[in-house]
Symmetry: C2
Subunit: 259 residues, 2 copies
């Protein structure tokens, strides 16, 4: 349906696509979006640098500019994503398909690596990624692990995504994903969910529960929902993000994010 | 002589050590320093993010604070390095052993990964690192490769360091260093020096020339001198750095910077 990131972005811009981006334009990198006012941009940048596993920034805009230069050639992040979420003072206040009328001259955008990139690498290596084979969204959990604080982003709980594997495949999944530090890298935890404050693995805070077989170990990766958690915790006056699953699709290929 | 980073820093702070740090406190991470006023910090941060090979930032201070939190537990970067260089409007204007009386409340420090870390990994893997076996400083070159511009840091030439290896060992050196993206990662070029604007490999711009044998290929890595080049090119009002070879020595171990 869409063969390139440019085609996806054009359809979003033209109002012809406002759905999820999972599986669209295979091979092209997808990214989480966070837009903050310049007054908060330093704190967010520092937060991302200190927490590269949940928040691996792959591009930062020039203050005031909505145009990408690296992840895609001059995409307009105000219109080129299918759907956006608005957080005001830490509360989700709206969901829209365009933010052109909301954009201000002091806004700074951040594009953050997405697990879709390393999932492609896992699938190409012959591994089964459970939520994909079950046709579900990846299960995500708020944890008791606190991110490193940065400026006004204090004590943000890390959000993780979970994929179960047999021990053998878990070792391969670790070896593969560690080569993609720009898109969350290796897992932050494996095994006992209780160790990181997850009370019931079958009740994710976002996404869907997936089957974990008797012989399998759950692997937990830092998740791009963490910046939204940071917005809520810090009660930032305004943060605009993508809607879950409705990502920015770039011109770069996933394999370009391998070390 | 010094067994830990803390011992090195204490000797610098107490005025007992103002020499080079190569070989001191084996195993402990060493880092390049760059201090800029807050007004320039965003541009520098953006520059580092867009040029992670020559400028891999491993820690950024809170604006105004000279105290580290991650690379070392509460070191004072105003006194804990052996020697500093002062650049004013792009010109080297001084070299001092302490910057306490120069520090201002809007200064921000950046610690940048150093090739000493990956050289340890190369040596531990049994590879010969030429400038070390010849008792010299690593040869460094200004290249025709321009860094990605960021804010007022425009068209900075990338500085590289060079180490020669046989083809077999070159492949091993690439495989090893790519696992250390926080300390320059894999080479930016190998082979013909002319391709990156180096006219005479035997006349480095900094450091010493080293022997390159007939069977060897020169490998070029992004170099932490690049931020000083950025300061000179952008004519930043003030940037304070370490003196070449006189690095910050942290509490973390080099192997912690492996992916």
């Amino acid at each position: 349906m869409f063969n390139t990131g440019e085609e996806v972005r054009g359809a979003c811009r033209g109002g012809e696509w406002s759905g999820q981006t999972s599986g669209l334009a295979p091979g092209f990198v997808q990214a989480n979006l966070a837009v903050v006012p310049y007054d908060w941009a330093w704190d967010f940048f520092l937060f991302s640098q200190r927490n590269p596993k949940p928040c691996p920034v792959i591009e930062t805009g020039e203050p005031g500019s909505p145009f990408t230069r690296f992840t895609a050639n001059s995409a307009d992040i105000r219109s080129d994503l299918p759907k956006y979420r608005i957080y005001e003072h830490g509360v989700l206040t709206g969901e829209v398909t365009d933010i052109k009328n909301l954009w201000k001259s002091d806004y700074v955008f951040f594009l953050i690596g997405c697990s879709f990139s390393f999932e492609e690498a896992l699938l190409l290596s012959g591994l089964e990624v459970r939520h994909i084979s079950e046709g579900k969204n990846v299960p995500m959990y708020k944890t008791s692990v606190l991110c490193s604080s940065a400026g006004r982003f204090i004590d943000t709980p890390m959000v993780v995504s979970m994929r179960p594997f047999t021990p053998d495949n878990a070792m391969r999944a670790i070896a593969i994903t560690r080569e993609y530090p720009g898109v969350h890298g290796s897992p932050v935890h494996m095994g006992d969910p209780d160790e990181i404050g997850i009370k019931d693995i079958n009740k994710p805070d976002w996404g869907d529960p997936v089957t974990i077989k008797k012989s399998e170990i759950p692997l937990f990766w830092g998740c791009g929902v963490t910046p939204q958690m940071a917005a809520m915790t810090a009660k930032i006056p305004i943060m605009i993000t993508h809607s879950p699953g409705h990502m920015f699709v770039g011109d770069r290929k996933n394999h370009e994010y391998r070390i």
